[in-house]
């Protein structure tokens, strides 16, 4: 193999890249103008050097013309579009995914507003707007989840199918990591549940034993690791896979629905917090609203900026 390589390199060195342009070469260079701008930006200079070193014939011109047609018919392959279109759309999807996950965590935390349940039921009976705001927030979260699945599952399927076909070890690891983390978390929680809820005997407020406290802290850390690690691993898998431009364009629709639902959910959560603060302050003490709202706000900000970038990429690509 090395001999072949050396032979070819010496052959190329013998070529004369700077010989004056003849008519055939000028025509060939003219044929390069038939190619799309993105193709010319990447390859034209290189091809010109190849043409100068080669013997340009009529067939060379026909071949270049056919190549130009091919490049126009397969614009999705062109280098500029790879970055500006598929890459940007995929990044947009990944960021919307991260935004949704952050929001979903905050949304799950909002369920604690109903703890303790009798107190919550008394508050909603006295202030029906409280229940209305809570149900609306839940509905927004549900719509966002369904839209997220509508966009995310086809991408996940595409990534899995491609990974199985190509056997990319790192992507396989990235796809398996969230599953492994969830399994570890669940097994740890089940194994320690008996010890992590033990309270010190004869205390009024059910104070946890040191072991129980340590186990609960470990469980919290493990949960955060599972959450952040799972998101990072899935993002890596998608970022290192080729997802078709058509599918990426489609995901902008569920992505837009997710983003709108998150905005609506954030507004209803703020409204819920205001109702709680003004009409049912006894409920407010049971959960950390400011942290929840900050997390939701961060999730919404991520989703909005990613959707905006995705829409711009799609518009720019269509016009390119």
């Amino acid at each position: 193999m090395n001999n072949i390589s050396n032979a070819s390199q010496s052959a190329s060195q013998q070529a004369q890249p700077d010989k004056p342009d003849g008519l055939a070469l000028r025509l060939a260079r003219g044929a390069l103008r038939l190619y799309p701008a993105a193709w010319r930006a990447r390859y034209a200079e290189e091809v010109t050097l190849v043409l100068r070193a080669s013997h340009v014939t009529g067939w060379t011109l026909i071949d270049l013309a056919l190549g130009a047609l091919d490049a126009h018919f397969h614009r999705e392959l062109l280098p500029g579009r790879l970055l500006s279109m598929a890459h940007r759309l995929r990044t947009s999807d990944i960021v919307i995914f991260c935004g949704y996950m952050l929001y979903a965590l905050a949304w799950a935390a909002m369920t604690f507003v109903r703890d303790p349940l009798p107190e919550w039921e008394r508050a909603t009976a006295a202030h029906p707007t409280l229940l209305l705001a809570y149900d609306t927030m839940d509905l927004a979260g549900l719509v966002a989840t369904l839209a997220f699945l509508a966009g995310g599952l086809p991408i996940l399927w595409s990534v899995i199918a491609q990974t199985l076909r190509r056997r990319q070890p790192r992507v396989i690891f990235a796809l398996l990591a969230p599953v492994a983390l969830v399994v570890i978390f669940v097994v740890f929680a089940l194994l320690t549940v008996q010890y992590s809820t033990t309270t010190v005997p004869h205390t009024q407020n059910g104070q946890l034993t040191p072991l129980a406290f340590a186990l609960q802290m470990a469980l919290l850390l493990l949960f955060l690791l599972t959450f952040v690690g799972g998101i990072a691993a899935m993002s890596y898998a998608v970022a290192h896979s080729e997802v078709s431009e058509r599918l990426l364009r489609y995901t902008l629709i569920p992505g837009a629905v997710v983003t709108l639902a998150l905005i609506f959910g954030l507004l209803t959560t703020v409204a819920l917090s205001v109702v709680i603060a003004t009409e049912a302050p006894e409920v407010a003490s049971s959960f950390g609203q400011p942290i929840v709202i900050i997390m939701m706000l961060a999730g919404v900000a991520l989703a909005v900026s990613a959707l905006w970038r995705g829409l711009r990429a799609a518009r720019g690509g269509a016009g390119a």
């Binding site: 070819s8 390199q9 190329s12 290189e46 043409l51 080669s54 130009a68 076909r165 190509r166 080729e242």
Partner: protein
């Protein structure tokens, strides 16, 4: 993987020759054409070469290195090497089947 190779359409054969050429070391476009002509006797034009290079780059089977004297040398990637090995194994299987059936005929 073979079906992915066949996705290359009319560039399938040229792509295989390019991968084979790059298996022998990094090369720029003209050096590849010379090398391929030398080891296979197959010649093709610049339009065909760069149509195949575009697809191979897009698939991540080859990668362009920083330009040297306005020319980008290309290098076979690890994934490209796997694809090449699998393609050659398929071809060997075809040849073996052909030999066996020819012996029976």
């Amino acid at each position: 993987m073979p079906s992915e190779f066949n996705d290359l359409g009319r560039f399938t054969d040229v792509a295989l020759l390019i991968l084979l050429s790059l298996a022998g070391g990094e090369k720029h476009g003209y050096a590849m054409m010379e090398d391929i002509a030398q080891f296979s006797g197959v010649t093709f034009e610049a339009g065909t070469l760069y149509g195949a290079l575009l697809r191979l780059e897009r698939k991540g089977w080859i990668t362009a290195l920083p330009a040297e004297d306005r020319r980008h040398p290309y290098r076979l990637t690890a994934e490209g090497a796997i694809v090449l090995r699998q393609r050659l194994a398929t071809l060997r299987q075809i040849v073996a089947t052909g030999d066996a059936r020819q012996a029976l005929a």
